[in-house]
Structures are given as structure tokens and as C-alpha cells.
Symmetry: C2
Subunit: 342 residues, 2 copies
């Protein structure tokens, strides 16, 4: 069936079948146009009969409106980014804009390719996860002539608009909390340095805050290539305890790594939080439901998506008043759980 390339019907075909001009068909498919109800009915009938599906590439070319916004996320298998996309989709539902998704695999070079491909389809705006890009990528974005929204970060030199938070500050919150509970030998468990700039920012925030509290900031364990899996979190905990057996707390780059570390403690009979406290990042469901539940940071993923939607609407003039700060920062929340003795 698929092997016969029966050419898909065009608007002209529908027009002929309905006995009108192509322009009338075009209007019939667009809301808010003056087409006689009977004519419209005949056109819709003809279209259904032919199995007609509009060619939106042609429509976009002609009208210069493609009706979608592009979104890059690091991974399609991440509850945090999924929530952000959900918030974005919700916030755009009322408008005529769809979301076109692509994932970068936590790689800025992959991102550059992707951004090129996405911009080639002429989105009306683009949302990026993170504020670190290749030079070429920044240049393309800046010259695309559309609103660009960087999220999940607080970039020093934003391309355009920002909806995010400081990953470094979020890590610092955890450090301060653990220190306030009397834990002094605190480790950071994260991915290796080449990718996942948000994870790197968290590590940077960890180091800075440890220093400012006059604590040793060198207990850093590399768990592998981001995204860090639960297994990698577990393995890294083994290395951590081998090298620094007296560690009193570990801050993990994500809840998934934290959960992996927790399970390893369970397998080894290390009491949590008795001997070691564990904290994660992201407020994933697992951190709430596991036993014991894990202290974490909630970055308000969905709100990021919703605010991004608003930023897009403002930038495109779909919202009145169309004023809104170009840089929107969200305050992450600390969720205290049993894994840190709370």
C-alpha cells in the first residue's frame, strides 16, 4: 500500500471536486473568513472524500507564518524537561502555535546542527534549554529574526530572552542546608566536565559555597557522561566511600543519581541519613516516593514552560499588554526529606 506513491491531493484537486476556486478552499479552511456555509460544507466534504491534508510547508511559504515554535531539550527521557514542555504546550494552547521538539543529547555540537535544522523550518520562536551554545549557534540564533528564549539557566550573555534560574545558587542552597544540620564533610556527585553545563554550574555553585563556608570543596566524584543514570550514581557512591570513607553528606547532580546512591547504601548497609545524608536535584517523583524520600531542589519545571509560553506570546505581540521582563528568574525551592534527616 505504501509502496505506490499515490500523490497526495492538493488544494486545487479539492477545489475542482467542490466546483470552486482554490482560493475559496483556502478560505474555507481558515477561521474568521467569509465563506458561504453551504460552500464550506461542500468543500469540507470534498476534502474528506479525497483524504486531503493541507500542505503546511506551502502555506508557510506563502503566508510567512509557519505556526509553530521550536524547542530543544537535552533528552526526551527526562521528567524535568517533559514538565517544562508540558507547561509550554499548555501556555500555547490558546494561540495558534504548535511545538516542534528536538533533543540535543546534552551536546552543544549536536545542538548546533539541530538549531540549524529547526531554523530551516522557520519557526516563529525558539526555546532552548540552557544558555551555553557554540559560537556559530549563537550567531544563527541572533540572526534568525525570531524571539529566542533560553531556559533552565541564568546566562551571563543571553542571546535574547531568558526564563530560568541559577543552577549554582540552587546547589548553594543545598550546601547551606546540610552545613546547618552539622554536616561538614560534604561531597558532590556529578557528570564529567565535558557536557551538561547545568550540571557543571551546580558543581561550581557547590565549590563556591563550600569555600565560603570554609569547608573542603574537593570531594568531587565523577559519575560518567551526562545524563547520569541511577547505576552510575550507585557506582560513583562506591568510589566516593572508598576514597573518603568519612563523608557525611553527598549532593547529587540529579535525583536519579541520588536514588542510585541511596540503593547502594541500602545494599551495603550504610545508614541514610544516619551515616550519610543524600540530596538530589529536580524534584523527580522518585525522590518523593522512595524509602527514605530524598531531599531535593524543585526548579519549578512546569512554571518555566508556562513563563516561556508567556514570553513567546509577548514577543510575538499576541498578548496585551505585551510588556514583560526580558529576563525572568525563578526561585528554586528546597524540599526537605528524610534522606537528610529532615
Amino acid at each position: 500500500m505504501s509502496s505506490k506513491p499515490i500523490k497526495a491531493p492538493t488544494m486545487t484537486d479539492v477545489a475542482r471536486a467542490a466546483g470552486v476556486s482554490p482560493m475559496t478552499v483556502s478560505r474555507a479552511f481558515k477561521a474568521g473568513t467569509n465563506v458561504h456555509s453551504e460552500t464550506r460544507r461542500a468543500i469540507v466534504a470534498a476534502a474528506d472524500q479525497l483524504g486531503y491534508v493541507m500542505n503546511s510547508a506551502a502555506a508557510g511559504l506563502s503566508s510567512q507564518k509557519t505556526g509553530f515554535i521550536a524547542v530543544t531539550i537535552p533528552s526526551i527521557n527526562n521528567a524535568n524537561f517533559a514538565d517544562t514542555v508540558r507547561g509550554l504546550t499548555e501556555g500555547l494552547r490558546e494561540s495558534r502555535l504548535q511545538v516542534l521538539l528536538a533533543y540535543t543529547d546534552y551536546d552543544v555540537n549536536e545542538e548546533e546542527q539541530l538549531v540549524r535544522q529547526l531554523l530551516a523550518r522557520r519557526p516563529e520562536a525558539i526555546m532552548l534549554t540552557g544558555g551555553t551554545h557554540t559560537e556559530k549557534c549563537r550567531y544563527m540564533l541572533a540572526h534568525a529574526g525570531i524571539p529566542v528564549i533560553e531556559t533552565w539557566d541564568d546566562p551571563v550573555a543571553p542571546v535574547d530572552r531568558v526564563v530560568g534560574f541559577s543552577n549554582a545558587a540552587a546547589a548553594a542552597i543545598l550546601v547551606r542546608h546540610l552545613a546547618s544540620k552539622g554536616r561538614r564533610k560534604i561531597a558532590f556527585l556529578g557528570g564529567d566536565a565535558s557536557r551538561d553545563t547545568r550540571g557543571l554550574d551546580r558543581r561550581r555553585g557547590f565549590i563556591r559555597e563550600m569555600e565560603s563556608l570554609s569547608l573542603d570543596p574537593t570531594r568531587l566524584v565523577e559519575a560518567g557522561t551526562p545524563p547520569i543514570s541511577m547505576r552510575e550514581g550507585a557506582d560513583a557512591l562506591v568510589r566516593l566511600m572508598a576514597r573518603w570513607p568519612d563523608t557525611e553528606a553527598v549532593i547529587c547532580v540529579s535525583d536519579l543519581a541520588a536514588f542510585g546512591a541511596l540503593t547502594e547504601c541500602q545494599r551495603r548497609g550504610i545508614p541514610v541519613p544516619g551515616q550519610i545524608a543524600i540530596a538530589g536535584f529536580g524534584a523527580y517523583e522518585i525522590s518523593e516516593i522512595c524509602v527514605p524520600p530524598i531531599t531535593t531542589i524543585d526548579p519549578h519545571c512546569r512554571a518555566i514552560g508556562q513563563l516561556t509560553a508567556k514570553a513567546v506570546r509577548c514577543a510575538l505581540g499576541l498578548e496585551v499588554p505585551s510588556k514583560m521582563p526580558v529576563r525572568q528568574l525563578i526561585e528554586p525551592a528546597l524540599l526537605l526529606r528524610a534522606s537528610t534527616g529532615d
Copy 2:
């Protein structure tokens, strides 16, 4: 910056800047064409300088090749579908095809909308998750004139090609295994009936196999609207034990629900697998790493994606020999773990 709608440069702009005709620019960007190396260099330089990005809508219109395939998945936050997409992407890397992703939220009406929007962009093939669609959706797919691949299912009346497995048979495998271990009072924990047809198929397979073993197939707990969260799995376990306190095993529609149920047992001091055995579905990482690890079914997600890629290449004649069965069934694997006493 984004507020000034500086029109993006076109191929004609690049041509002018490089002192050649637009056609030469077009050729310069296409591999395997004869363009003098110096000319090409000048064109690329001009394009970079202008921040030129090709308009692939126009290119697709003209060449009748859009260079992408459409993919619908139920959710962007699911490791199983993510793995399938990854396998697909890998399998398509060598070809000129990109993947365009959209998610249905486990809703066939949403899927219909989505399929219409995707077909409107004229993909060269489309992959769907599941074999259940609205009538209109099937009609559109059948008339799109492109290869259609239904996955993650074994549909009775496929639209075109299939790469999948029987969800019912997979559930039956679990039933047989638990029965063979002497468990007779087995429950099924799944989502309510209106959505997620793959989950429904698993339940159907559970009931049929229980009946054929002369066991009571009526211990069915509804955990909420798919996708079932860990929390919903935990809550459902509470209801299950309230209603049928003597239950000896529970098969969950996914590993996430199974893990939720497991944590609830831990909170309530119910021994697993001592009092109750727990099995999941999907071979998610969590089922392997949690304590105790959970018995599950591995549907070979990535292989589904890879085979789909191959099916696409065959259907489009990119592969020699371009012969391949139209219906590819994969055998899910049973992974035995401690949660069922293995």
C-alpha cells in the same frame, strides 16, 4: 533584538553576495554536485557572513522531498519510548532523514490531530506508537501516500507495516511464570480503561492466561489515568490489599507502578517477595537497581526503533535488498529478579 523582524536572508541574497546565480548556491549546499571549489568556498563564506539558513519548507515544496520522518509517541517522559526513538535515530543516521517528534498524551483523539499536523508537513514516512487509532486517522494515514509503521503492538488490521510485539502475550508470560512459582492469587494493577491501549492489551492477556490456568482473573485494580505514576501504583497497592488481603502476587502495567507498589510494601512492612511477589513491565532502569530488584518484561525498545528504521529504509528504497517482511514481531524477554523470589 528579537523584536525587530529583520527578514532572514534568502538564497538570492547569498547569490548576490557571492556573485553567482541562486541555482549555483542551491548546488553548493547539496552534496554530490559539480560546483567549483572556489565558487563553493565563496558561497559558504557569504552564507556564513549573512547568517543564512536554508528554508527547508521551500526546498521541500520544490523538490518534493522533505527529508524527515514523523514519529508519534504517547509521552516524552518515558524511557521505553525514548529508547525506541533513539534506536530509530541511530538507524536513520546514515540516511538523509531526520526525525520529527510529537507526543499524543495517550489519547487517540489527540493523536488524530497530531497526525493531521504531521502529515501536513509531508513527512516521507510516519511511525506510530500503537495500533489503535480513530477511523479518520486511519483514513488519513492510508491516503497519505507514504510508508506507515505501527509499533509497540500487534494490530489485527495494520494500516501498513508493523514492528512490534503482543502486549497480551507479554503479560501471559508473567502470569505463567508466577503460577509456576506456586503463586495462585495473582492481581493485575493497571490504568483505567479509556486510554493506553497497550496497557489494556496487557490486562486482556492477563485475564485470558489466568482463565486458561483456571485461576481467578478478577483481581483487577485501577490505578488512574495512564501513564500510571509511582504514587498511583503505591495507592493502588493499598486498595488491592484492602480488598484482597490474601493476594500472593501483583503484575503491574509498568515498572514505575511496580516500584510505587514496592515502596508501599516497604512502608507497610509487607515482605516482598515473602508475602507478595511484584512484577512490572518495560525493563526500566529502576526495576534493575531498586532493592529488591523487580522482575519485568523487556520489550526490546531500542530494537523496535532500529527495525523501524530498517523498515523505513526498505519502504523508501534506500536499502538493498529492499525486501523485508511487512510485519515484524519481536519476542519480549522475561527478566527474573528478586521481587518474585528469583
